[in-house]
Symmetry: C2
Subunit: 333 residues, 2 copies
């Protein structure tokens, strides 16, 4: 197990039994009487990953005192929506490997990946409807919409080398930051959904914490895509350049480059049938300068997120929320 995974496992210790309960709920949902559906679902359970979003929901509930016996179910719902976005991403990106397991669209075809993602979305909504309060369903319907719109915008913004950083952050944030933000907000606010003013203040702060952690996480991901080790990261890298996605490190390099270098960068992205685009980027510009800018921004976001949870009453869960911030940066550094 990599050092970073040991760190993460340590962070989860205050919520170990709740994570196990969330995991049991999740596994229970990944079954279907149809043998064809079951065949795919057995495969998907191997994608389950670190379950960070579910953990953040539980930690947020514990740290703010809002924890209820419905929190593990919400954690499972959040993880299912995350799984659905991963499966549909595999259709989108053409990524060939994710977490060292053949991705769904490799093992079956795109059509089945679309359906499996749909299945996960609908099961997630169905599970949320078993909760005593509709607040979770409402938050998740709205969050899922934002994730879609963010990805639609990301697709529309491909090859936009002059994208303002604020637009990049809004769009890049729609995927990871939105869901982490909703996880933390639900953890702090369910089931009242903003009835008491103390709960409201916690909900707002935890939503902002989740957004900042999620955006930092995405920025680190963008950096890893440019210079990570595929073995360690456990998924295909260099796909952003293949897909025409201009991420923060490249935006930063492009912004500060002269026209000669800018032209070369555009060529690497746009000349048809070019192979190894990400590797070629390193030949035509100093990618490390962009990564420095991006990682500084990630660090600022994490600092802000940590300051927010530092205001919570002292607890093991608060400590874990703080350390998640450090962990997000350690993935890269």
């Amino acid at each position: 197990m990599a050092a970073k995974d040991l760190v993460l496992r340590g962070l989860m210790s205050p919520i170990k039994p709740m994570m196990e309960e969330a995991h049991r709920v999740l596994e229970g949902e990944l079954h279907d009487p149809s043998p064809a559906a079951q065949d795919m679902l057995a495969h998907i359970s191997r994608f389950k990953g670190k379950q960070m979003r579910g953990a953040m929901l539980l930690l947020s509930g514990k740290a703010t005192g809002a924890y209820s016996d419905e929190h593990p179910t919400m954690a499972a719902v959040i993880e299912m929506i995350h799984l659905a976005t991963l499966v549909h991403d595999d259709v989108l990106d053409g990524a060939e490997v994710r977490r060292r397991v053949a991705s769904v669209n490799q093992r079956w075809d795109n059509q089945v990946a679309v359906l499996l993602g749909d299945f996960l979305y609908t099961r997630a909504f169905g599970l949320s409807l078993t909760l005593s309060n509709r607040y979770c369903s409402r938050v998740l319907a709205e969050t899922s919409r934002k994730i879609c719109v963010g990805e639609i915008e990301q697709s529309a913004m491909r090859y936009h080398f002059d994208l303002p950083q604020a637009d990049y952050e809004r769009i890049a944030g729609a995927k990871t930051a939105c869901l982490m933000s909703s996880a933390c907000e639900l953890g702090a606010r369910y089931p009242e959904g903003g009835v008491s003013s103390e709960r409201d203040a916690y909900g707002d702060e935890m939503a902002a914490y989740g957004w900042e952690i999620g955006l930092a996480f995405q920025i680190v991901d963008d950096c890893l895509d440019l210079e990570g080790d595929p073995e360690k990261v456990g998924k295909s890298l260099g796909v952003d350049a293949e897909d025409g996605k201009i991420t923060l490190p490249i935006l930063a390099v492009y912004r500060d480059a002269d026209e000669t270098i800018r032209e070369k960068i555009r060529e690497v992205y746009t000349v048809p049938d070019l192979d190894r685009r990400a590797a070629r980027l390193h030949d035509v510009c100093d990618v490390s300068l962009g990564i420095e800018v991006a990682m500084a921004r990630a660090k600022d976001l994490v600092d802000s997120a940590i300051a927010r949870v530092s205001a919570l009453p002292k607890s093991a869960s608060r400590r874990a929320l703080i350390e998640i911030g450090d962990y997000v940066l350690v993935r890269k550094w």
Copy 2:
């Protein structure tokens, strides 16, 4: 306007103002502040079609006396889920034309079609959560799951020439019949969801009516795919054979054919890079025999559905529900 569309317009007259209200709600949902999302949504509104599922929900509500001012919103929700399945179908089938509008995956790419379908699903769930009762959300989460599983099974059952007819009906029914069944059940049962015994009986009958009408509709679709006029049907035809889907007319022909003909049928489906597979089917076997069997089954289903609604109190809406049965068959005959 084709004669069949005039027929359909006449059927809708008892619920004209409610259909207009449902349409207003639907149009209101097909907006988003994001320009990129809006660009796609403007296109999708041209897909809206006959809105039969929404109409069936409203007619079911009127004919059973369950109609409430929340019914038009439910009709809009049903239509949005239907739209989502159409958009994701376009990813699945590689169909090139649907309702004479360039299909979403032609105008944009697969990745955007996946996201747009996701957007429609999440907006549909979000809209259902504005209703006073969770019953509609629960029915639709479960229905959407069944639709996915049905399509997953359909994909798994490609090239199964010995598929028993009951399995074909269960799988083929998962798409159209499930959603029509839920539309009719919701119309009759919302909001109580089975509290009174009279409402329960109506709900069960209307669910069965919707299933039978929907399955008949799908069988007719399968026949049209084999021998319809693309101009009149308004979408690509012959795609089932391209996709390896063995539909009821072909199952019936294959079942009754000798081994020589069976082998030729299998070849038409499976020889790589063959063009015009559907047309070639007509060369190697008598497709009209299979269509006769399939249409006889569709007629039986419609007869059963009509008998169910004939037991309802006499009304213009009951009349329309009966005529929808006739309309489903007229599409072909």
